[in-house]
């Protein structure tokens, strides 16, 4: 294999990775997974049966559902949609970092006011940050798309 062909193959693989998207029907599948997971999470809190493992699994399925919605193709995937995705990812990334920095302080203030017995200053869990990031991305993407219409 000569150098030029090797470089072309590398470029093709990189393009495939950059342009990776799930088929459009994954949007519906993802939405159903998120709704079911959130429903079970809420009802799990109300039930007598409390299980950390069950809660952990439901949190992961929520994230998977949100990821499916985020990665699903639009019906017509063109350069404008790509540009909107990039803008939405940028906003979501910055918002996610700010959320991770600010939310523990908000929690601290709330716990201090309520005089809760829980530890006041604690880090956010990975689920909260990732859920926030994916939700902000999806919201901004559809907001920007609607704005362009």
């Amino acid at each position: 294999m000569n150098t030029e062909t090797f470089c072309e193959a590398e470029e093709r693989r990189l393009q495939k990775l950059k342009n990776f998207k799930l088929p459009n029907y994954f949007k519906k599948i993802g939405a159903i997974i998120v709704l079911l997971s959130l429903l079970l999470l809420f009802s799990h809190k109300l039930m007598d049966f409390e299980s950390e493992t069950f809660r952990y699994i439901l949190q992961r399925t929520t994230l998977i559902g949100l990821l499916f919605v985020a990665l699903a193709k639009e019906k017509v995937e063109d350069e404008m949609i790509q540009s909107l995705r990039t803008q939405a990812f940028t906003i979501a990334f910055i918002a996610g970092v700010l959320y991770a920095l600010v939310q523990p302080l908000v929690n601290y203030m709330v716990f201090t006011v309520l005089q809760s017995e829980k530890e006041p200053l604690s880090d956010l869990g990975d689920f909260q940050v990732l859920w926030f990031l994916l939700t902000v991305y999806i919201m901004f993407f559809y907001f920007l798309k609607r704005r362009q219409a």
Binding site: E74, K75, V76, D78, E79, M80, I81, S83, K145, R147, Q148, A149
Partner: protein, 85 residues
């Protein structure tokens, strides 16, 4: 220093913003085709054509050249730069 082109004077002494205008709607009307038809011909969504016509989205060079092929005119006959103060 005196500049022959008054626009350079504007550049130096005031804040200007370069925006892009277009005549896509006019060119589309000349060909008597809908936004949907034009979108299909160049391989984008109708929404993209609508956004370009309203100057909300600046297309890539590739897309501009595809439009040039459809309209059979050079790109700078339907895309213009405009300086606003």
């Amino acid at each position: 220093m005196v500049f022959a082109n008054g626009l350079h004077y504007v550049f130096l002494f005031s804040k200007t913003k370069t925006s892009m205008k277009n005549r896509i709607k006019v060119e589309r009307a000349i060909l008597d085709i809908t936004q949907e038809d034009l979108a299909k011909r160049i391989g984008v969504s109708r929404q993209t054509i609508n956004s370009i016509e309203k100057a909300r989205y600046v297309p890539s060079t590739v897309l501009a050249l595809k439009l040039s092929e459809v309209f059979k005119k050079p790109v700078n006959e339907f895309f213009f730069l405009e300086e606003t103060v």
